[in-house]
Subunit: 210 residues, 2 copies
């Protein structure tokens, strides 16, 4: 099963307006992720202690447990910064211990050798979304494949008819302006789960209908 | 209590792209309202028989019962069509028996006499959102005031600090492109109710925090 997981504002924005070094997720965008940052399971995956063991944490723990491999767009890998084509070994912005703990397949136009870090190997795929999903599915060894983002990668998977499940985490906030969820994909969905967290976030799970 | 009620796609669009006479709610926009059109309470309010007596119908019935007066923007009143300024008596697109069954205060720049129709009187307010909400509150006689739309009117109410409650009905559909919910308002919300309907729509209720 191939799935995606996105935190959104009530208006469906995945990031606020005017992203910058000071506000990498746009103005107000961090509010979309407060629920995750406060959760025990998120902190544990990022090598931090503490955090709350709430239903939000359970949702994150479940996602981590089901995922055997990931796919991400090039901009999400590199954080949008750096001169990817001229740098022989760009490390992205994930540091030496990325939080994924599974192989991640990065969509790119520039072939390079895999980058092996603690717990995560990044593979660079030039053959497009289908090749990335095929390789991730094989690497996942029976577990699920998560499309980590950005929205463009998720959109490509929907357009290719490959996305099985879409999870949104609706934060109790209005950002006013921002970057829309998926921008461009159309289709019907079947809602398969609703979890209301005391944090105010609503976890909505949908099956993508083909 | 002043509230608004909006049906949205999972991406938060209140209408699809490229509205036209053929597609007044934009391409695919009618999908946002299928749940309401199928409901007994909606059909009864619109003088039609039949419909399903589901939780969707209960939600609509509750909204009708609580509402003593409404406020709407000029474009929602006139359907965006017609030459409002030059027509001495534009009837809007609501026909002789509007579905509201309560007084409705229309935001406009052109003063005119009230228009009394079966069950609904339209009042035309040139003093802006505060005057419209004050007059509607008085006319509601202790019941609630609904801002029927469009998004701009709701946004003005939020900006004026007058919106108490925001209800969204999240339809299980991706429209790809469209008109965003509220476009421009920022703020924190407190989720106060979640109802998952078998129709696939999720009814989310929020208190607007000031």
């Amino acid at each position: 099963m191939i799935f995606a997981d996105l935190s959104i504002s009530l208006e469906g924005f995945v990031a606020g307006p005017d992203p910058s070094n000071e506000h990498p997720l746009g103005i107000g965008g961090m509010q979309l992720h407060e629920w995750a940052l406060a959760a025990h399971a998120w902190r544990a995956a990022h090598g931090r202690e503490g955090g709350e063991k709430t239903v939000d944490s359970d949702v994150i723990g479940e996602t981590i447990a089901r995922t055997g491999a990931g796919v991400m767009g090039r901009k999400m890998y590199s954080g949008g910064s750096g001169d990817w084509a001229s740098d022989p070994n760009p490390r992205g912005w994930w540091g030496d211990e990325p939080p994924f703990h599974h192989p991640v397949f990065v969509l790119t136009h520039h072939a390079r050798e895999p980058l092996e870090l603690t717990g995560t190997t990044f593979h660079f795929v030039t053959g497009g979304i289908d090749e990335a999903l095929d390789r991730a599915t094989e690497a996942a060894g029976g577990k699920d494949v998560q499309i980590h983002g950005g929205g463009e990668a998720v959109q490509q998977a929907i357009a290719a008819g490959r996305l099985d499940e879409l999870n949104t985490h609706v934060a109790p906030v209005l950002l006013g302006r921002g970057f829309p969820l998926l921008g461009g994909s159309t289709g019907r969905l079947e809602r398969t789960r609703v979890i209301e967290s005391p944090s105010g976030v609503t976890h909505l799970r949908y099956r993508v209908l083909r």
